[in-house]
């Protein structure tokens, strides 16, 4: 049985000048390179397959299998693209990872690119995180200077160039094909699949797109072995992952643990819900994953467990809300987000999210009727599964799940003639928000 918490990626974060090459190498950094270069590329892919690593960007697709889809008989160049767009509401793990330990990402990029036989890799970072971009830019520059990047790396004959690319503000660019459009200098609108990026991705060439945390997990798999990785986690969800707790908990933050830990255990570690309050609802993996409640405290947080509970593990973005929070207000705000971020390419999402906001806003003001709840569910029905990409599907998650668990609260808005909650009670600074002293 592994320990309760298993710091691997976060293990650097409390080290002095953790983001620098000397600090990283002092902790054994870049060890996986020679080991990987001594292996055949297909054996590196096999090791990642055997480890059971599944994508950490939300969907949980097996990483090694994705790599094996790259057609090696295709004469075009192969590319690795790291998805560092982290914008799913609640998700806040890749950003601290790149700030505190950028070299583990660079090391992962090198091994992963070697495995898929790419000589060029891109790290696409959302633009709104300036200091994180500085840290990754510097790590790449240090890696070049140390001979971990460039030509004939470590005398292996393998060449790799890495470009750090800043995005410009668009949640949809986290969707992998929209990201490729952004990286090609276009509006970030998803592409039709097939062809999948593995066959025709960046510049119509075979391309692997992986999340930051997925790629950063690769060096430890190569250095310590697939079995080591698979000794953590559950049967179908192997390894460790960063769990991000935010909201009404005593100690919000990042907790790196084997997959399958429960919210009850995490809350214990985080000191529980804030003093004097109770858990009301939470997202297991960002706002696009259906809400759960206190009845789900013991659900194993792995892909299967959360799926069986009617939601999705997503990005392990655990946003915790106590009983002071109005679920209708929360859901309306997320819905406004989806409406704003809809790229406009397909009608169900572009028009549908607009209608969802209209209907929800009316309910939140205590206007409308009980029939509007059915109208909302009907609108969700017309979006879910009919949208061009998963943004539209995600937009329906908070709505349908909140109606499932909190129908009465919607109705209370109607009988009350507006929102029955005092938003000041939910804030960290309490109801005297206009007179308190500065932090």
């Amino acid at each position: 049985m592994p320990d309760t918490l298993t710091p691997v990626l976060t293990d650097m974060w409390d080290v002095d000048r953790a983001w620098t090459l000397p600090a990283y190498e002092a902790k054994g950094g870049y060890q996986s390179l020679d080991k990987a270069f001594a292996m055949k590329q297909d054996d590196v892919i096999a090791a990642v397959k055997d480890s059971g690593l599944r994508g950490r960007g939300g969907a949980g697709f097996p990483t090694g299998m994705k790599w094996s889809f790259i057609p090696q008989d295709n004469p075009r160049p192969k590319y690795l693209v790291v998805n560092a767009d982290e914008s799913e509401p609640g998700t806040c793990k890749d950003i601290p990872l790149m700030m505190g330990n950028p070299h583990v990402l660079v090391e992962g990029v090198i091994v992963s690119s070697y495995a898929i036989r790419a000589n060029k890799a891109f790290i696409y970072i959302r633009g709104e995180v300036l200091h994180v971009i500085r840290r990754v830019q510097a790590a790449v520059a240090e890696a070049y200077a140390a001979g971990h990047l460039g030509t004939n790396i470590h005398g292996s004959g393998y060449d790799l160039d890495v470009v750090v690319h800043a995005g410009a503000g668009a949640y949809i660019c986290g969707e992998e094909t929209a990201l490729l459009e952004g990286l090609e200098g276009r509006r970030g609108q998803p592409r039709l699949r097939p062809p999948f990026p593995a066959v025709a991705g960046l510049y119509a060439s075979p391309t692997v797109i992986n999340n930051v945390e997925s790629i950063a997990s690769v060096p430890s798999i190569i250095t310590n072995g697939a079995k080591w990785f698979a000794s953590m986690g559950t049967e179908k969800s192997k390894g460790f992952g960063i769990f991000s707790l935010s909201g009404h908990v005593q100690k919000p933050g990042q907790y790196e643990a084997p997959l399958g830990i429960t919210l009850r255990e995490l809350l214990d570690l985080a000191g529980g819900i804030r003093e004097g309050h109770d858990l009301k609802f939470w997202t297991p993996g960002g706002s696009s994953t259906p809400l759960l409640t206190a009845e789900h405290l013991d659900v194993p947080l792995d892909f299967e467990g959360v799926g069986a509970a009617g939601s999705m593990l997503g990005t392990r973005a655990l946003q915790i809300f106590d009983e002071t929070v109005c679920v209708v207000r929360a859901v309306l705000r997320w819905t406004e987000f989806y409406k704003h971020e809809s790229c406009g390419k397909c009608t169900p999402c572009r028009e549908g999210t607009w209608w969802l906001v209209q209907t929800l806003a009316r309910l939140e003001k205590g206007q409308g009727t009980e029939a509007d709840l059915d109208l909302l569910l009907d609108q969700c029905d017309n979006i879910l599964g009919r949208s061009f990409c998963a943004l539209g599907d995600g937009a329906t998650s908070p709505i349908s799940s909140s109606i499932q668990y909190f129908r009465d609260e919607y109705l209370a808005h109607l009988t009350h003639g507006g929102c029955p909650f005092d938003p000041a009670r939910s804030t960290v600074f309490g109801s005297a928000s206009t007179v308190e002293v500065s932090a």
């Binding site: 298993t6 080290v15 276009r186 790196e256």
Partner: protein, 237 residues
């Protein structure tokens, strides 16, 4: 704000950005960051310049510039303040912070506050979506640096310090630079501030601190059965 035309240095840097990529059009996003650094917004002249370098139409560049929220068609302040009002931050106090700043600065969303006599710098305000810092809610971004765990009153004091020209530090990063300086870094030209600020803020370290206290680690490689002999454990620190 004066709008000097793009100089040769900037034009050369735009070409340099395009040259980083196998296909030059890929440079467009960082190029638009660079023109914002040079001119304070995306001007018609800059759109033409990018189109020219990339051999695409000005309409295509314009279509891209209007798609992404970080590109501005009108000037922002020297310090652009973004209050996160996505659900989690909103609930934790982001809505109250945004309201207080609007009232204090006497502006609405996406507007520049008046630069009063004696103000060294201007500030602008907008509400932003989740900035991947929810464990530090409520979060305010200034020129895309983290200002964690804010309060309405603290945010007011911060914008006043910025207007007065005092040094303000990111809670998880360096001394704040101006918006134009920030845009230059986003275009891929580092500014030497990388070593300022911590590796991680307190919330980022919450789990790691507990692990240290309790002696929790990832499994020892030697303890995992039937594994190839490793050189060194990864988690023995």
């Amino acid at each position: 704000m004066k709008n000097q035309s793009l100089d040769d240095k900037t034009l050369n840097e735009l070409r340099e950005i395009a040259g980083r990529y196998p296909e030059k059009r890929s440079g467009l996003l960082p190029m638009l960051h660079l023109v914002q650094s040079a001119q304070g917004k995306v001007t018609p002249e800059a759109i033409e310049a990018c189109a020219d370098i990339l051999d695409i139409s000005a309409a295509e560049v314009s279509g891209v510039a209007t798609f992404y929220t970080m590109y501005k068609r009108h000037a922002v302040g020297d310090f652009h303040v973004g209050v996160c009002t996505n659900t989690l931050c909103a609930v934790m106090g982001g809505d109250a912070i945004f309201d207080r700043l609007k009232e204090h600065l006497d502006i609405g969303n996406d507007e520049v506050a008046e630069q009063r006599q004696g103000d060294q710098y201007s500030v602008s305000l907008e509400h932003v979506e989740c900035n991947a810092a929810c464990d530090y809610a409520p979060v305010v971004m200034v020129n895309w640096e983290f200002m964690d765990n804010q309060t309405p009153e603290g945010a007011v004091q911060m914008v006043e310090a910025l207007r007065a020209g005092h040094d303000v530090r990111s809670t998880r990063g360096p001394r704040l630079c101006t918006w134009r300086e920030a845009e230059r870094v986003l275009a891929g030209f580092p500014d030497g501030r990388v070593d300022e600020g911590p590796a991680a803020g307190p919330a980022s370290l919450a789990g790691l601190a507990l692990a240290r206290e309790n002696g929790w680690k990832a499994p020892d490689v030697a303890a995992v059965p039937a594994v190839e002999a490793p050189k060194e454990g990864q988690a023995d620190a």
